[in-house]
Symmetry: C2
Subunit: 217 residues, 2 copies
DNA sequence: TAGATTGTTAATCGATTAACAATC
DNA sequence: TAGATTGTTAATCGATTAACAATC
């Protein structure tokens, strides 16, 4: 039981996309779908989709396709969406506000257990039904609400300290929106979302396109 | 000239990180650095770092390391940071506000050429020194300001239409923050940043950790 | 020369893809 | 049975890593 048949990282990311696409499809009343159709909707090719699903088991029907509901349940279970998780969000600047107001949390099994900020002027502020707390409260909330995920939306220079405090409080996964490289012990997972890096990757490709154009002319 | 010696996608993403790390290092007055030290600061191993840099050429000194300034210039040139690029941002909700206020744009060679929203009540609103415009103005601004990159920060159901209008206006790269899969012609680059997907990946790993813990006990 | 560190090779690892036998 | 589509295999491709010769 609880087999360690490792699912590739890239597959996990795509499963989350499939899950969302399946959500809108079943809202649209569709009850069954082929790998080809789902792959198109998700923007991948069908071989990759079938390979991805094969890591979860085999619950399609040859000649027919997949039952949308079954697929949703299998993927949800695999990703752990069924177990609700509490997250804390540190830093309630512009980005923190946007994240706190993000509607997708609840429907995907996440619950914001607390908002925190180091700036005393922000403490007590109400955002999306929650009240901003000071960093002193962080450890207690993480412990009481069994929080396992921390989201960092502070400026870069505060990120490492916030990270350390989150880890000390017991958080084991961190989603980092601050433009800083965090160092953590390797039992803690960190994922980073970096606007500047995304833009620079696009910029790089723009440049290549321009160079290609020149080469052609 | 303008050689097509392809730089791997993964390398491009890391180069952007190295560039930022080098920025803070040279602010700190450091003038020379070894691959080992830079790799540590960037959170990768030194072999990977050297391999990444080798795609740009070889401008380190054996036995010594790299001159920080030289490295910054080489990476900047490669990524196209030296040529300034104009971007437009569509959707000025919470997230749009956060993005519009993001300080890192200018220092990285990007300039916001316009903010747009479909909601007539938002038109005329001032954000970070810019005025929100209606979608009718989009095409003209893209053309006049030679905008090549569009950022989508709308709700999911508006994303595809906004995308189509951006592409029609002449944008060739899109950064999509809306939780929707965009379909575009393949001369247009799309990168997607998805909060829900990031959280679900973390959630998946949390689950694995919990299962591993149980297995050990 | 001795010590340090780069740049590159070759081995390994992981992910993608096409193709097709299995089977509804 | 004939047509459709899955699940899986094997080939390919790309990225990571360790190791070390080159060289400062």
């Amino acid at each position: 039981m609880s087999e360690g048949r490792a699912i590739p990282e890239a597959t996990v990311a795509r499963l989350a996309v499939y899950l969302r696409v399946l959500g809108s499809l079943s809202d649209g009343g569709l009850s069954t779908i082929s790998s080809e159709a789902l792959a198109n909707a998700a923007g991948v090719n069908s071989a990759k989709l079938r390979k991805d699903l094969s890591y979860l088991g085999s619950f399609g029907t040859r000649g027919v396709g997949y039952v949308v509901q079954v697929l949703r349940e299998q993927i949800s279970t695999c990703l752990g969406v069924t177990e609700h998780r509490s997250v804390v969000l540190v830093g309630v600047g512009n980005l923190g506000h946007a994240l706190a107001g993000y509607a997708g949390f609840g429907s995907r099994g996440f619950r914001i257990a607390g908002l925190f900020d180091a700036d005393p002027r922000r403490i007590g502020e109400g955002i999306s039904g929650l009240t901003v707390q000071g960093m002193d409260e962080l450890a207690a909330v993480v412990a009481q609400e069994a929080v396992s995920i921390g989201v960092i939306a502070t400026p870069a220079d505060a990120a490492q300290e916030v990270c350390d405090r989150l880890v000390a409080a017991g958080v084991t996964s961190i989603l980092n929106f601050a433009p800083a490289v965090l160092s953590v012990s390797d039992n803690v997972d960190v994922r980073k979302v970096d606007l500047a890096v995304e833009l620079q990757i696009l910029s790089f490709h723009e440049q290549r396109k321009a160079a290609g154009l020149k080469a052609v002319l």
